[in-house]
Symmetry: D2
């Protein structure tokens, strides 16, 4: 018996499909989540959301509670950011996803977000996993920086064991000795997790690489490895972003990427 059960492909052979508004993941569905690392400004976010929608993105992301290594870094706009995010999502008719750091913020976030993100640092915050396991919102579960596939699937099991089966896994790079990139995207984790589990898997090439110019090639790679979606950071002016500017695409760069995507998905489907 594997340590995980409910999330195992042996327990459920068919893909779990997670539908969030116009976005869908798994069972042949592919969606792109895009947006800024952090919500910073209402007008800019609305404009960006409209641009993203126009180029084919299916979900808007934006952090309002930011997990920052230093207590002195920008920590996010909190409730006000949630309002901006929900407004931008509504304006562009896109569902929105944002990260919850603290169980005490969960009720608030549930009022504004369509999908709840559990970040890498909280992949083994078991109290938080259990709480999001008890809600009806779908959950995006990022892999921890040094989590094995087994630990990651067991973290998903914590959520599903509480009753919430709407879990999307997100490979976002692991910590290795290599310092040329922020992290190392574990590309083989994508097909392997899909073999081991019925849950959808998306890739986050922004956090994995930490370098804007590497995001498109690594995103394309993730698609061909079998990802059910992508999560990409986009900022209207990365050079003044309050966090993660170096890894954020400019809107026209995402647009260019999105134009090429359908042909790639078609090749993948025909193989």
């Amino acid at each position: 018996m594997p340590l995980y059960n409910l999330v195992s492909r042996e327990t459920q052979a068919e893909d779990t499909v997670v539908q969030v508004g116009v976005a869908a993941f798994g069972g042949g569905n592919f969606s792109v989540i895009a947006g800024p690392c952090a919500v910073e400004n209402r007008e800019e976010l609305i404009e960006l959301a409209l641009q993203l929608k126009a180029c084919g993105v299916q979900m808007l992301r934006g952090g309002v509670f930011k997990p920052r290594t230093s207590p002195y870094s920008f920590q996010g706009l909190g409730k006000e950011g949630l309002q901006f995010l929900a407004e931008a999502g509504a304006a562009a008719e896109l569902p929105v996803v944002t990260e919850v750091l603290d169980v005490r913020d969960l009720d608030l976030v549930l009022q504004y977000a369509d999908m709840i993100q559990i970040g890498s640092r909280n992949m083994q915050n078991f109290g938080l996993l259990r709480e999001v396991g008890r809600v009806k919102h779908p959950v995006l579960l990022k892999r921890g920086l040094s989590a094995t596939l087994e630990e990651w699937l067991l973290a998903a099991e914590y959520i599903v064991a509480e009753g919430n089966r709407q879990v999307v896994l997100c490979e976002r790079g692991i910590r290795t000795f290599e310092t040329a990139t922020r992290n190392t995207l574990d590309i083989s984790a994508i097909p392997l997790v899909k073999q081991l589990s019925h849950l959808p898997v998306v890739a986050d090439p922004s956090h994995a690489t930490g370098r804007r110019e590497l995001v498109p090639p690594v995103a394309r790679a993730a698609v061909m490895a079998g990802a059910d979606g992508l999560m990409i950071e986009v900022h209207p002016a990365p050079e003044r972003a309050l966090s993660d500017g170096a890894q954020s695409l400019r809107p026209h760069q995402l647009e260019q990427f999105m134009r090429g995507l359908p042909a790639l998905l078609q090749v993948r489907g025909n193989w």
Copy 2:
């Protein structure tokens, strides 16, 4: 300017001394924390505490909220375990330390424990760090599995920035490619952190090695690297421990270790 400030040796040249009942860490003080991985049984714990006290241990440890990779593993006794732990500490006249996993449990734990442990998986649970930064109990902050020294010190900065200066750092092994041991104790982190920060540092050779027979030599090594204390798992019958039996010393093994310790500390002091 380093990213951390309040915990930096540049900000405060002299060692911080953390005193918890009969235990003290830093400024030349050295203490041993010992006890079972998890509190399992009232009578056994009291008997063990008395044995530990008799062989020179200064603090009793015992987990009651256990962070377990699998949702199906023993999760700890919770409140009942806190009562047993406090009772055993009182019986042996030893202060007690236990881990808090969830901010919502903090008030409860504060009623029973003398020191609050933040575990590896929560080293960047920033909400929890801030909350323990607002209490008067001293805090034992374990290094995350893949945390750099800078990230670890910044996690301590989160606590100290809220007003609680009573922080003891705990090196407990990092995750590497080597699978012969559970983790890899980063021995050079001990003198390096003491150079960078005024906070005391203790070592946990039990989690670092995961193998009972390696605990004494690695514990001795940590002492000579400059540690201000040790945290060692001890169980009266490791073969039936509900968690971490393979890395738990038997009481007579700890006793043997404790007998040799004063001579080692004397050599260290004279060098």
Copy 3:
């Protein structure tokens, strides 16, 4: 000034193209190298080579001097294996590549092989690097298991500094904490190395993953990340291979992969 100079994109803006018989790498050229981990048997190898040729492979690989962790494992056929490999290459009109482990074998290998492979364990065998830098054969330089990109490029610099500019880099996975796969293919290394250097880069999904079923998706990913070629292990009957059977494709699996490849390269070209 970067530490490497001759291999730097700053020194030479245009791609280096490495041509080896019908195979070519770089400057828009893409080739697949395939064959068994080790040369085991003359007839089987010839038959396999013909199959590989028929499905579009451009180069035959096969180890005759095997770097084995244990002195008691099969060490390769040596000179006899070289003869089989050359014969099979001739029969299928494919150039052949094989690994040199020891400077003393170089002259012998040069008589039979069209391309010389430097394996991961020898990436910093500087005497060997210098020697292959003095010959006219092109060199396939695998990344070391724990080599940074900078160290890898400096290893290439050792070869080029001796006069041999025909170097192809091969990303074959790095060693990380993850044990579910043999190694972790560093997918972002492919576009990043191509940005830093003018040398072609190929990917080896067989050694990276160690699992047959992961080879096709990871190979496809490497193509979309920008690789100039692939190196894939194929064995007519992996279950009786003398080494690396678990990661070897069966011939029909490679054939299926090769059928889908042109469409993928076209998508890549059009993006």
Copy 4:
């Protein structure tokens, strides 16, 4: 059956003792090897050797063939360096150890050195391992940067299988994600390798830490973990060393370390 046999503690219960002139390792013997990273200058080396002898060192080290990441770095004095090293050893009545990088240099080195060092980058240079397995000189086998304990012991097995049983293992730090130190000394490898094998183990705190101020505490830690010796870099003027200056002790720092060592060994013996 373990993969290694001849080096296994199961095959030979008693410690192997390796005696090299006045130095001895294993079976209760402890020796210190010290000297510069690279041999640079005849007079200075002789003077340093005399100082090292005076403070209790048992073996002189000095690199003459240097494995350098960049082809443009100082590569060592070669044969001339060997002569200087042998002369300094003779003057101080100390045996000498130096690294061989290339099988073609082995005969030359055997004429001058008392012990042959196989460096980290060559731990799996199997041709070189076999050749040093056929000579009568004792061998110091450094652990590879990302070698598991099993791979390290199998590298030793390659040597012993050829007939040379005089092998001393050297733990010199492994490559991890932590960048605050050059490498991470795997302190638990010391007692674990001694449990698995009868071969002596020494530690190299200089390469492990890369920082002079960390060398004494980490060296002391290695002693208490059970090491049979130490290898420490010392340079008369580290600020002008041609390699590894930052990690080289000054002679008076080594002297201070050596003064404290007997008391530490006594505590270890009495435990």
